[in-house]
Symmetry: C2
Subunit: 101 residues, 2 copies
């Protein structure tokens, strides 16, 4: 059963960032965890802070981010979303295969 691999999008990147910040994370950990560059990482982190999914802590000049309760709920929904989307892709492929024969 073959079906096209999707390009990594907003949902996948957000999930990786939320996972990276389950304990606490600096921007470098976010960059490596999500596999994005500094600007992209900071854009997502700022958005997640803005909606209250991450809290900011400062330690001298360094900033740290920690997932909030809302962030944990968001993480759960995103994981569910990605799982369902994959299941949907698989069953769509099965239907298409049957319709072709």
């Amino acid at each position: 059963m073959h079906y096209a691999k999707r390009k990594r999008g907003t949902m996948e990147i957000m999930l990786e960032i939320l996972k990276s910040c389950e304990d606490q994370c600096g921007i470098t950990k976010v960059i490596y965890g999500a596999g994005v560059n500094y600007l992209v990482a900071q854009k997502y982190v700022d958005q997640l802070v803005k909606i209250g999914a991450l809290n900011v802590k400062t330690d001298g000049e360094r900033k740290y981010y920690v997932i909030t309760e809302k962030g944990k709920i968001l993480k759960g929904h995103i994981e569910q979303f990605l799982k369902l989307r994959q299941d949907l892709d698989e069953v769509r492929s099965k239907v298409i295969e049957l319709l072709r024969q």
Copy 2:
């Protein structure tokens, strides 16, 4: 939780036709079961016959259609597809709602 209701598409129409022909159906039953006009009904039925999801029986001048084993498998996959798509719409709405706050 609000999310846009989808327009009825190919998957929904095929499912209704396959359901209508679980015992045996003439084209009239298909038309009423799937809520489509004669031309659309015949187009779908012909495609389902072509791929082996429906068998044709003739009784004098009348044609009847009966779901095949392949048709039952297709029906199951389509049901699964529609259920997953609805679940995905719901969880997508939840994520969007959290991202907006």
